[in-house]
């Protein structure tokens, strides 16, 4: 059987191209980043209504992405939604105790995300603390209800 260098080279290139393609898909298409996993700290926040918030939604401060929503569960003590946030490690110990978290919508039909705003309290939140001051998502039906009842009472 004739050993063909060109054929071996061809198959090798093909497989290398496949692996590089997978790396490209990972980095450019799915936005995988090399972030050290120990670089985040956890905070919790309770909301009366999370609306369309999903796990892996963004957490922003002043519009800049500073973390992700890692889990959403039902708090069986207070019957509201407990959202667990994972924020960048550099913010640990720098958010005041009266930081607020609000569920905002990107655009009209866009995905929902959490925006946090710091307050003025000298004491700060540590890993595992709960954000006390929260603003639930705007539910369209409740807004319409409010509008109609305002119109009727006028």
């Amino acid at each position: 059987m004739k050993r063909s260098k060109m054929m071996e080279l061809g198959v090798g290139l093909f497989m290398l191209a496949g692996i590089l393609g997978l790396v490209f898909l990972g980095l450019r298409v799915s936005g995988l980043t090399f972030q050290a996993s120990g670089d985040t700290f956890r905070l919790e926040a309770n909301f009366a209504n999370i609306g369309g918030l999903k796990p892996r939604a963004r957490v922003t401060m002043a519009g800049v992405t500073v973390g992700r929503v890692s889990a959403i569960e039902l708090d069986t003590d207070w019957y509201d939604a407990r959202v667990i946030l994972e924020l960048d490690g550099d913010l640990e110990g720098r958010l005041s105790r009266d930081t607020t978290a609000a569920i905002l919508t990107a655009g009209l039909l866009g995905e929902q995300y959490i925006g946090i705003t710091v307050g003025g309290d000298p004491e700060t939140l540590a890993d595992g603390d709960t954000i006390r001051d929260t603003q639930s998502a705007v539910v369209l039906e409740e807004l319409i209800q409010q509008f109609l009842s305002n119109m009727i009472s006028d």
Binding site: M1, R3, M7, E8, G10, V11, F14, M15, A17, G18, G21, L22, F24, L25, G26, R28, V29, S30, G31, L32, P55, R56, R58, L109
Partner: protein
């Protein structure tokens, strides 16, 4: 009347027997320690099955990506959501189109070629001659082709996705004027590596096993005449395509059906 029922029963039994032969065939071929020469046989088949299929797979990927972007743009622009074009193209390709279309093209090109080659070897008695001189035809002829198919199709699927996303970029950003930052940014925010790319690769692996298995089995098991070869080649393409589409539905339901 009774003879019709007997005929149906006989056909059913024949189907079961064929399925059993296929299972035994797969077990005997795929499991085997590769030797030094076996490695080289596999390399030749990788070239034949993988490298030579690159042309059709990549060109199809490019055009499918371009058409996706074009059609997607015309629909999304009515909702003012044309900035979501990147995520639409990428998700459609990675989850569904790349594994399925690459498998169908592979079945048509490489699958039919494998069936014809092995079928001709059977018809010209090369396989029985190999057995007589003590060489196991399953290990020498079938196993390298099986493993080449298992490795080549996932690689071809990756190539298809990459070229398709790039084709979508060419049409969406360069021609239709979608903002480049939103094309890639929205895509990166919505494509999950394990959930989308990983699931697409799992599908592609399953299709690779099924398509290659059907192709080599039809070649090995056919009636050794020229008519038998042509019928086996047709059966390869038809059965592979139906199996790919059916399995695609099952896998999609398993992977993406239980929406969290």
């Amino acid at each position: 009347m009774i003879s019709r029922i007997a005929h149906l029963g006989r056909r059913g039994c024949e189907l079961l027997e064929a399925l059993g032969r296929a299972g035994i065939f797969m077990a005997q071929s795929a499991i085997g320690v590769p030797s030094r020469e076996g490695w080289y046989l596999w390399l030749r088949q990788m070239h034949f099955v993988g490298v030579l299929s690159l042309a059709i797979v990549l060109v199809s990927g490019l055009f499918i990506g371009m058409v996706l972007a074009l059609q997607g743009y015309t629909i999304l622009v009515d909702f003012g959501a044309e900035q979501a074009l990147g995520q639409m193209v990428a998700l459609s390709l990675l989850r569904e189109l790349a594994p399925v279309v690459a498998a169908l093209l592979f079945a048509g090109r490489a699958g039919s070629a494998l069936t014809a080659e092995i079928g001709l070897m059977k018809a010209t008695e090369q396989l029985t001659s190999m057995e007589m001189i003590g060489v196991d035809p399953l290990r020498r002829v079938v196993a390298p082709r099986l493993w080449a198919g298992f490795v080549a199709l996932p690689l071809l699927t990756i190539g298809f996705s990459v070229v398709g996303v790039y084709g979508g970029y060419l049409v969406g950003v360069e021609w239709l004027g979608v903002f480049e930052g939103s094309y890639w940014g929205n895509m990166q925010a919505s494509v999950d590596f394990v959930g989308d790319i990983g699931n697409g690769m799992v599908k592609s692996l399953v299709f690779a096993v099924v398509v290659t298995w059907i192709a080599v089995f039809q070649g090995y098991d056919l009636v050794p005449t020229s008519e038998g070869i042509s019928r086996a080649t047709t059966r390869t393409v038809v059965y592979s395509s139906l199996a790919v589409l059916g399995l695609d539905f099952v896998l999609t339901a398993m992977m993406f059906g239980g929406l969290s």
